[in-house]
């Protein structure tokens, strides 16, 4: 049975990723074991930046496009969700609308930068983001100008929101699952029976999820609120509201970069001319990469707006966002997806913790700047890439030592 074999392989895959699963589990139970709202708040911020860093890695790390316009996606996401929330539209639909805007902006940016590559791509995207930034700064009715606009935080504890939240999560899970198996579905060498089985399973599962989960989750939340055994606070929900999209998006992005499309991204990064010679429409793949990145970055922005409660063009559209995300990516390691996310976590933690350290805390920006310099000088390939490189050589050395020892032993015994 091919299907059962695949399930076994899937389980094996999972067991190989024990560390990742443990970390994920730790994040999931974290709000229930600690009363610290500060760390929950900090972690939620880390998740948002990690999502942005992941979206940036698709463009920079995988497609090799040095984009300086990531702030535009993030900012448009933040503003769209802020506007929609001000119009009393529920949060989850607002997120999806923001993602649509991100995709549109990504496409526009891709079209604008059609003729350029390399450093000029960086400049076109920078110009694009800066034009958007200038428009927003000057158009006060739209953006609130320098003082910005305050975001109405959606009522996370309202039953309507909980239903939407559950629905959104269900849809996201279904999408993830579909993406996880859709590649197997279209593979021609699979027998028709397996493909039909897969499709039926997905449809059944999605239907069940959408039918049962929202109502049940609503009941659970209602119950827990009434009994107040687990206190459901706004922060609690916000923590999950950022963690779940991050995890889902991580898997989606992982799937994208290991799909045929993702392979072509890498081909474009490695040698654009050769990819063109092999018959791939490089422009189309750059467009796809930019649009996908826009979607995730806009989602990060849309999550950020109700988190920070007040946004202005400088804080969400400014070039600082792009610079920060560049630094996350460099620190973590380009083209690894998890690397930039780790980088985002480390830098956010440092930026929040350094100011409270005595003596050097006063000059924390300076300390952080020096830290960047040291990282770039001594870890130019980022944490994850360096670790993989060094890890591989260490493993190889060990292996060589073992084989030599075996050979020596064999020689002695014979």
């Amino acid at each position: 049975m091919k299907g059962s074999l695949d399930i076994r392989r899937f389980l094996e895959d999972l067991s190989r990723k024990k560390i990742a699963l443990v970390i994920l589990a730790a994040f999931l139970v974290f709000p229930f074991v600690t009363p610290s709202r500060y760390y929950m708040f900090l972690l939620a911020e880390m998740f948002i930046w990690a999502l942005l860093a992941g979206s940036y890695d698709l463009v920079l790390g995988y497609t090799g496009l040095v984009s300086f316009g990531q702030a535009a996606f993030f900012g448009i996401g933040a503003y769209v969700s802020a506007w929609l929330l001000a119009m009393n539209i529920s949060f989850v639909p607002a997120l999806f609308v923001a993602m649509l805007f991100g995709a549109a902006l990504g496409l526009a940016m891709g079209v604008f930068s059609r003729r350029v590559s390399g450093i000029y791509y960086a400049l076109v995207t920078l110009a694009f983001a800066e034009v958007l930034f200038s428009i927003f700064t000057k158009w006060v009715q739209l953006s609130g100008g320098e003082t910005g606009i305050s975001v109405t935080r959606p009522d996370f504890l309202s039953s309507e929101f909980l239903v939407y939240f559950a629905l959104g999560v269900s849809v996201a899970v279904v999408v993830t699952l579909s993406i996880l198996v859709v590649h197997d579905l279209v593979k021609k060498e699979k027998p028709v029976r397996t493909r039909v089985l897969y499709s039926a399973l997905i449809i059944a599962f999605s239907a069940a999820l959408i039918y049962f989960v929202p109502s049940r989750l609503y009941a659970i939340m209602e119950g827990s609120l009434r009994e107040s055994r687990i206190t459901v606070t706004t922060m609690n929900i916000y923590y999950f509201l950022t963690l779940i999209p991050l995890v889902v998006c991580y898997f989606v992005m992982k799937k994208i970069v290991s799909s045929p499309v993702g392979r072509i991204f890498v081909a474009v990064r490695e040698n654009e001319e050769r990819a063109k010679m092999l018959g791939y429409d490089v422009f189309r793949y750059r467009l796809i990469s930019s649009a996908i990145s826009g979607v995730f970055a806009a989602l990060a922005g849309a999550l950020y707006a109700p988190y920070i409660l007040s946004i202005n063009p400088n804080s969400v559209l400014g070039v600082t966002i792009t610079l920060n995300v560049l630094i996350y990516s460099i620190l973590g390691g380009l083209g690894t997806l998890i690397g930039p996310m780790i980088g985002a976590g480390i830098i956010t933690l440092l930026a929040n913790e350094l100011p409270s350290i005595p003596y050097i805390g006063q000059y924390w920006m300076l300390t952080l700047g020096t830290f960047y310099l040291l990282v770039i000088l001594f870890l130019p390939y980022g944490i994850v890439n360096t670790w993989r490189l060094k890890g591989a050589t260490t493993k190889k050395r060990l292996w060589r030592a073992i084989t030599t020892a075996k050979a020596v032993l064999r020689k002695e015994s014979s």
Partner: protein, 287 residues
């Protein structure tokens, strides 16, 4: 809407602004042309020059000494930065960008620590005020800036075309490997050129202070506008930096006078249009 009596003052401001832009953009462009480094710290050198000039003027009270001191300071800082760190990053453009960005962060913070958040300004004696020529008020300092900028542009041009180091720089822009093969120490030329570029930027910062004042955010602002200038003129070319400065400087000041809402939109839109029609810039060479 457009007041015709404002056109001449706007043009004078535009030319003066163009000269400041030229001082920062020429170094930026030459550094990119020779070494392929997109120096994101260039605005920070401009800012350091400005603040250093503020302090120097407080002590010396002499404008000439201030300008010379600021350029020497920029030279030393640039040589140190390139020799100690940037040199190791050759062939890794992203790391170079990151490193120079790191300097932008560090210098901006350093300025906040040393000089504080308030903007600083000084007035050189004899260059303040304005004279009336044919019923038009002409600010003396801005006129001085135009002439000063032209002198510096001419001497930089002569330096590039008439001296040995200038020839090496021009040859290196064409093909650095070939120059090295001829037995010339290109590495040293790199460091010196980087220092010269930052010296020009620091000088620009110093002469900019009496007009625009030194502020902690000038590092980023001037970096972006010099980026626009060099891209419009053609990255890596001296000529492009000069004409690009003229174009953007005048355009910027005209829009500042007549459509203040749109100043930066116009700058970046110009850059985008140029990049779309002629990606190599108005004076760049098609590769």
């Amino acid at each position: 809407m457009i007041d015709p009596s404002l056109i001449i003052p706007a043009l004078i401001d535009g030319l003066a602004f163009a000269m400041l832009l030229f001082l920062i953009a020429s170094g930026f462009s030459i550094i990119f042309g020779l070494m392929g480094i997109l120096n994101f710290g260039h605005g920070a050198f401009f800012m350091m020059g400005a603040y250093f000039a503020v302090t120097l003027f407080e002590y010396s009270n002499n404008f000439a000494i201030t300008l010379v001191g600021a350029s020497l300071f920029g030279l030393g800082l640039g040589v140190a930065v390139h020799y100690l760190t940037l040199r190791r990053m050759e062939g890794n453009p992203i790391a170079q960008i990151m490193l120079t960005l790191g300097y932008l962060l560090i210098f901006s913070e350093l300025v906040l620590i040393v000089w504080g958040r308030v903007s600083r300004i000084f007035y050189p004696v004899g260059l303040i005020g304005s004279i009336t020529v044919m019923a038009i008020q002409v600010p003396i300092y801005r006129t001085f800036l135009i002439f000063f900028g032209l002198v510096i542009a001419a001497s930089t041009y002569l330096f590039l075309t008439r001296t040995r180091l200038g020839t090496i720089v021009r040859a290196g822009t064409e093909d650095a490997g070939m120059v090295e093969a001829l037995g010339i120490n290109v590495k040293r030329a790199f460091t010196l050129t980087f220092g010269l570029g930052t010296a020009l930027a620091a000088l620009g910062g110093a002469v900019a202070v009496p007009w625009v004042a030194a502020t902690p955010d000038m590092g980023t602002n001037w970096l972006f506008i010099s980026l626009v200038v060099t891209v419009v003129g053609g990255l890596g070319t001296f000529k492009g930096a000069f004409y690009g400065s003229l174009l953007i400087g005048i355009l910027h000041q005209l829009s500042e006078y007549f459509f203040p809402q749109l100043t930066f939109v116009i700058d970046f839109a110009t850059m985008m249009i140029v990049l779309l029609i002629r990606p190599e810039g108005l004076f760049g060479e098609r590769k």
